[in-house]
């Protein structure tokens, strides 16, 4: 990647202690709203740092993803962008996007997710029971943070309980923590696709009360969806859902274990504090893990269909643009005292789940799982503590933790 040079405002910038990273971001955002970066793949992209400018870009429909979907243009990204992701909802623009999105959104709505809350808490407690039975030092990633979102998503999609294990194996294959080879992943994806196609056919024939059934039967309202449309949605949820949610949850637990003050505060009422704590973990949790933080991230980009000025910067027609959630989440104009980890923060306009038409489809589900996952573990194991150093994989993009050794 090429680097923009201004004293102390370069972007991307190398990892440094969290407090310094916050200061660096502050100088960067005081200097300019966005930086043009040359990606390792796919060429140049504007990366928007400031919170308000990022929101403005994300809610402006003159920025589209069509050229990426059609293949007319390569996605500027850190790694070659996976083909199977290019065919998903993320890359559709209105009106096709609106139709699909609305159908799925209804199935993962705040309302629907609220109804899943009790079963999420019950499953979290089952996982905790198992950890207690095994005793000793447990890996919180493998035994708690990964299985919880997998269970919730498979019940949302309507995967029969008898098949859960198979489903878990295939779907966790794409997880960066699984450490599978490219070839193994391709084979697993093939099996998963065959399985899901079969399940969609079954739900078409005999609907249940689940997401696949409602998508398969959406035609009642003149909104027919073909299998070819449903399958990528299921994939997007699986691929987007597990890894990120598991990461958020692990980060959340670790950030509280690293902050005695905020953990003590959380323990006063985990259920009541979980909602604001979850948002603060999304915003700032990565800065609380005790590891250095760098700058350079960007979400999946868009392409400008015409010249657009955002926050004083001209983005020319045809240029790609993306947002940098790390900076936007620490923008002093949007967040008071952005370097402070405060689980009671009520005004928290972070962009970790993005914003606008393409905001994270599973946002309500991810939030609920994070809230429930945090509250249950600290309620059941109030003396939870680290039993070794966390293991982080720096060789994959999302830099997930693969082991968080804990005891209680």
């Amino acid at each position: 990647m090429t680097t923009h040079h201004d004293a102390g405002t370069e972007f991307p910038f190398a990892a440094r202690p969290a407090a310094e990273a916050v200061q660096h971001l502050r100088r960067l955002m005081a200097d300019r709203p966005m930086t043009k970066v040359t990606m390792p793949h796919g060429g140049d992209v504007w990366i928007v740092h400031r919170n308000q400018a990022a929101r403005q870009m994300l809610s402006d429909q003159r920025f589209v993803r069509e050229p990426f979907r059609t293949g007319e243009r390569e996605v500027p990204f850190f790694v070659p962008f996976p083909d199977f992701l290019r065919t998903t909802l993320q890359f559709e623009d209105p009106p096709q996007h609106t139709k699909l999105r609305k159908l799925v959104q209804k199935a993962i709505s705040p309302r629907r997710v609220r109804d899943m809350r009790d079963s999420a808490a019950a499953f979290a407690n089952q996982l905790i029971d198992t950890m207690i039975t095994r005793g000793g030092v447990r890996n919180l990633v493998a035994e708690y943070a990964v299985p919880l979102p997998i269970e919730m998503l498979s019940s949302l999609l309507g995967v029969p309980s008898a098949d859960r294990e198979k489903f878990e194996r295939w779907s966790s294959s794409t997880l960066s923590v699984a450490g599978r080879t490219e070839q193994e992943i391709t084979a697993d994806m093939g099996e998963l696709a065959a399985y899901m196609t079969d399940l969609i056919a079954k739900r078409r024939a005999e609907p249940h009360d689940d997401l696949l059934s409602s998508l398969a039967h959406a035609h009642e309202r003149d909104e027919t969806l073909t299998d070819a449309e449903i399958l990528p949605i299921a994939f997007l949820l699986i691929v987007g859902g597990f890894d990120n949610t598991a990461n958020f949850l692990t980060t959340g637990v670790l950030s509280l274990l690293r902050s005695d003050e905020q953990r003590a505060l959380f323990m006063t009422d985990p259920d009541a504090l979980a909602p604001t704590a979850a948002e603060e973990i999304l915003r700032h949790g990565a800065f609380m893990m005790g590891q250095p933080v760098g700058g350079g991230g960007g979400l999946v980009p868009f392409v400008a269909t015409q010249d657009v000025i955002i926050d004083g910067q001209l983005i020319t027609a045809g240029e790609a643009v993306s947002i940098d959630p790390t900076a936007a989440n620490h923008d002093p104009d949007a967040v008071t005292d952005p370097g402070r980890f405060d689980i009671t923060r009520t005004d928290n306009p972070h962009l970790m789940l993005s914003y606008g038409l393409h905001h994270c489809l599973g946002a309500p589900l991810a939030r609920m799982e994070l809230q429930v996952g945090m509250a249950e573990i600290f309620k059941r194991l109030p003396n939870l503590r680290l039993a070794g150093e966390p293991v982080v994989r720096y060789d994959v993009l999302t830099q997930p933790m693969t082991d968080l050794p804990v005891t209680w």
Binding site: R55, T98, K102, Q105, P349, Y355, G356, L357, H359, P364
Partner: protein, 106 residues
């Protein structure tokens, strides 16, 4: 200049001057009013901008559209007769609007 009064579930009130053409959601998000998330940026696909519109304002806005109606069913807090999605409440010059924010959006 339109004016909006936001009442929190606990009764606290925030009064804001707004810009005609903006929505009640946009004005809230821009000024950091708690309890209005507006995650989808007003594209009617998140239901996190749910508000209860004061009775005296009922006729100040176009009625609930089909898409808004469907999304209101998805809101985290049970909808009521005066429920609206605040991204659909576009302000006009001189308006004074009162809304109450529900217990939960997420």
């Amino acid at each position: 200049m339109p004016k909006i009064f936001y009442t929190q579930p606990d009764g606290r009130q925030t009064a804001l001057e707004a810009t005609a053409g903006d929505s009640v959601m946009q004005t809230a998000v821009r000024n950091g009013v708690s309890g209005i998330v507006g995650q989808c940026g007003g594209s009617l696909s998140c239901a996190t901008c749910h508000v209860f519109l004061a009775e005296e304002n009922t006729d100040d806005f176009p009625p609930v559209g089909d898409d808004e109606d469907e999304m209101l069913d998805c809101a985290a807090t049970e909808r009521q007769d005066n429920s609206r999605l605040s991204c659909q409440l576009i302000l006009r010059e001189g308006q004074e609007v009162h809304v109450t924010i529900p217990e939960a959006q997420l």
